[in-house]
């Protein structure tokens, strides 16, 4: 069994090969350690460095970079499909009841308050100004502080990438539509129809993104606790 120092050397070896992510490194380090341990049994006279050189010769020059690149693609796809699965769950019972509740809430608020429609139109504008002015506060509000870790993690970077895209994609149409409706005069009820049709979908997309992000984030922390301590 390799000692702590030798494992650390293997992590550095991966780093030299262009693998800076701790989660990619751990799998490769285990692989290399197994190969070295096997080689040590066969040739006990060799030094640790010689065993590394022997194992290294079995790898193609760009093999490590290729593994990282493909892993990145695969986990992004995995996180997107988990998000889609979560989003679709709102079209089936029991979560569909939540969607109905949101529609009912917006419709009743619109019926009782004349200002509600205006607030609804201006809300995305207010939130986008927030994004620009209070970045730090919103970083915590939207959970972006959860993507900080002591060692770089490809899985964490990927879930952040996916999360940002979902938030932005669900945000932009709402802002554009709100602005369009703000300056283009329609009758109040048809305008409200557009907004009520979109707002609950935006809210559900946002909740799904946050749900998935938290679930994946804490699984990553559980699996790679050393990267956070």
């Amino acid at each position: 069994m390799l000692n702590d120092q030798q494992i650390e050397i293997l992590h550095q070896y991966c780093e030299c090969k262009g693998v800076s992510y701790y989660d990619v490194q751990t799998e490769l380090v285990d692989h290399l350690a197994d190969a070295i341990e096997k080689s040590q049994k066969k040739h006990p006279e060799f030094s640790f460095r010689e065993h590394i050189a022997k194992v290294d010769a079995q790898f193609a020059p760009n093999e490590f970079a290729l593994i990282t690149k493909n892993k990145s693609k695969a986990i992004r796809r995995k996180y997107f499909s988990e998000f889609k699965e979560e989003l679709y769950s709102y079209s089936r019972p029991p979560k569909i009841l939540f969607l109905f509740f949101l529609y009912a809430l917006l419709l009743s608020l619109n019926a009782y308050s004349h200002y509600f429609y205006v607030i609804l139109q201006l809300l995305p504008l207010y939130l986008s100004i927030n994004f620009m002015v209070w970045k730090k506060r919103l970083k915590i509000l939207y959970g972006f502080h959860l993507f900080d870790s002591k060692k770089p993690l490809l899985s964490l970077k990927s879930i952040k990438w996916v999360y940002e895209r979902i938030i932005i994609t669900s945000y932009i149409p709402i802002i554009l539509l709100s602005l369009y409706l703000r300056f283009k005069e329609f009758d109040r009820n048809s305008n409200f129809f557009f907004l009520t049709a979109l707002y609950p979908i935006f809210i559900v997309a946002f909740i799904s993104a946050v749900n998935i992000m938290y679930r994946i984030r804490f699984k990553i922390e559980k699996d790679y606790s050393k990267a956070f301590n």
Partner: protein, 110 residues
């Protein structure tokens, strides 16, 4: 003659079958088992194995379990429920593929 390229399209069913037979396995264990079972005929490179494992994991065919082995972390792969179903389909497909090859290469035996 290096025959590895002949197995290229078959890696996925090979790995799925190994995981089906052995429950859970880690990367290095898979490479060694393939090497032993095929008597060094097929040697899966790390550059082929890990991207495939990650892709299968992303497709929901494989699930992952992390375990601390002494001073390092080991990643075990196993088939999910849908992975087991997928494996049955893959086995049927590969059998059909072998039969077709047999017909082409040795028509007398087919």
């Amino acid at each position: 003659m290096n025959k590895s390229h002949l197995y290229k399209g078959c890696l996925e069913p090979i790995i799925m079958q190994l995981l089906n037979d052995n429950g859970r396995m880690y990367g290095y264990e898979i490479t060694q088992m393939v090497k032993d079972l095929t008597k060094n005929e097929l040697q899966i490179t790390e550059g082929a194995l890990y991207p495939l494992l990650h892709r299968l994991e992303a497709s929901g065919i494989l699930e992952v379990e992390m375990e601390n082995i002494g001073n390092r972390v080991r990643k075990y792969y196993s088939l999910t429920k849908s992975g087991k179903k997928q494996n049955k389909v893959a086995r049927t497909e590969i059998q059909a593929f072998i039969d077709t090859l047999q017909t082409l290469v040795n028509p007398k035996l087919a």
